[in-house]
Amino acid sequence: MKYAIIQKEGLSKWLEHLKSRARLYAPRKKENSFVFRPVRDISEVCLEYIPTILPPKKYYFPQKEKLLKFSVRPFKTAKAIDVFEEYILFGVHTCDIAGIQCMDVVFRDSPEDPNYLNRKDKMTIIGIECLNYCDKFANCASMGNHNPRGGYDLMLTDLGKSFIIHINSEKGEGLVTGLGYIREAKESEVSLLEQIREEKKKVFKEELGDALPVVYDAFDRGFNSKVWQNVGKRCVACGNCTAVCPTCYCFDVVDEMELSLNEGIRYRIWNYCQMDDFAKVAGGEDFRHGRDGRQKHRYYRKFKYSVDKYNRYFCTGCGRCTRTCMAQINLVDTVNALLNEGITYRTKRHKL
């Protein structure tokens, strides 16, 4: 383990340095919300922020991404993007880093996704640890993502007048060494970090009603639960929850022709299980007809299917789906309602 220290006064100098090394993306304010944007002016960078409208996912899995170029006559195809550029994601919350780890599992699974991997290879992640809740919607403590758990190159933690930087990769090390304003951390500073983590335990409490394995069990038997009818009744299928989720990775592939009607580009575009026609196939058959079934599917993709397939919960606890929901569907409440049904179920079975 290796730690470095940067005084807060040195931060803007460091950001200028990072900006000169690669394309730099960081959170900044947009009206009353926050967004990741390319950094033009260092003063725009905002390190105290509630999760951005879209997660940084948009940089390694863009909303609309070119896959290949083609022409009809003569029939030819070619790579649409030749060069991927180096970039740094700065100030990423630990929940969003967990999101990147989830996407990594998916896109590295066979067959590997070349576009994703190309982008991922060029990415450097500099995280920032939250010492307090961003707002009431997060459930990061239950998901275990309120503390850094790897998946980054550098991690910043606020020590008051300075940041302690955890160096977690060679790439990260290269960005902090040889700079006059960043020095190695003293032992006392590392133990201060441990103290801060201890203090954090008082702030972050598990938001879900029970431990994750119990949540998994509740999902295992909750497929026909009334909870889903209730959620389905309130859902308006605006698709916001899936659009903002750091671990939703569904996409549609479309070919778009130029007006010449000879050349075109194949794109992949984000697509969501919450759309009315998502599971509709030729002949008009719809495998997930109602909003209840579609919402249920979303939750199962976070708390059950991903655990079965990748041994990983795909909820990062960022709280975006709850924050953005038009109809006030709350993830913690929904999971807890399912857990409560489980308790009734267990008590009933016990009586029998």
């Binding site: 947009k30 009206e31 009353n32 919300s33 967004v35 409208i53 879209l54 948009k58 909303q63 609309k64 009744k233 309130r234 859902c235 308006v236 299928a237 605006c238 698709g239 916001n240 659009a243 903002v244 778009e256 022709m257 007006l259 010449s260 009607l261 984000w270 969501y272 759309m275 009315d276 026609d277 909003r291 953005t324 038009m326 109809a327 006030q328």
Partner: protein, 254 residues
């Protein structure tokens, strides 16, 4: 090899403001590309020549008189392809407000004493009268979507208008939700395809593209409650463009 003749394209307008045709003029470079592929033979707003020999009819405006019915049927007979162009042609549009009252009242309000000399019928999108091959929604239509539909048309492909809410595109554009700023917006129930054009530019969604196939009524009420909006206010926004498809929203909010 003899070059195949270009298909002939004609524009027609019914009850409307002709603003959709203006979007064709606003197409810029795409228009220059387009005229390489089609011959525009009838375009009152942009040229003096007019021909009655055409293959593709872009029809703008809603049907609101008996004469309109006859005229659109004739256009349908002649054209190989009919495109409902813009909100009035595709969903009835602003003119549909007339349908909220009796025809008698509407006539009196507009024409006063001469109201008995005027022929008027309920406002209809053109597909209520004739078969339509392509629909381009919007007031006015979004130019990239016009181009997409034209490409599909020339390739003989179907164009599928999205059946999801404007919110989907709005989130992809990472706009701050209007509701988060205590401003209302028709995005959650309005059919996408415009790339949330209005919200991107600081406006709200007016619902000009019509409702998604299956708008959620119960959920909508929750939203109204959450943001402290009144049902009447929201209905007012709906009827601006969607009055002639009244059945659909009445069911939704009953």
């Amino acid at each position: 090899m003899k070059k195949q003749a270009k298909p002939k394209l004609a524009f027609f307008d019914f009850t409307d403001c002709e603003g959709c045709q203006l979007q064709i003029v606003n197409m810029g470079n795409s228009l220059l590309e387009l005229v390489k592929l089609v011959d525009i033979v009838n375009f009152r707003e942009a040229m003096s020549e007019a021909s009655d020999d055409y293959d593709i009819a872009f029809v703008e405006g809603s049907i609101s008189t008996d004469n309109d019915v006859k005229r659109i049927k004739k256009i349908r007979e002649k054209a190989k392809v009919v495109v409902a162009f813009g909100a009035c042609a595709s969903i009835g549009g602003v003119n549909g407000i007339k349908n909220l009252h009796s025809l008698e009242l509407a006539k009196k309000r507009v024409y006063g004493e001469k109201s008995d000399k005027v022929n008027t019928i309920k406002v209809m999108p053109i597909q209520e009268v004739v078969k339509v091959d392509y629909v381009i929604n919007g007031c006015p239509p979004y130019i990239p979507e016009i181009v997409s539909v034209i490409k599909c048309l020339l390739l003989g492909k179907a164009y599928t208008v999205p059946n999801y809410a404007v919110c989907v595109e709005c989130k992809m554009n990472e706009n701050v939700c209007r509701y988060e700023k205590d401003e209302e917006c028709m995005g959650p129930v309005t059919r996408a395809g415009c790339n949330s054009w209005c919200v991107n530019n600081g406006n709200r969604c007016y619902g000009c593209r019509g409702l998604v196939d299956n708008p959620a009524s119960d959920g909508q009420k929750d939203i109204l409650l959450k943001y402290g909006l009144k049902l009447e206010d929201v209905l007012k926004h709906f009827t601006l463009y969607n009055a002639s498809s009244g059945d659909k929203y009445e069911q939704s909010f009953a």
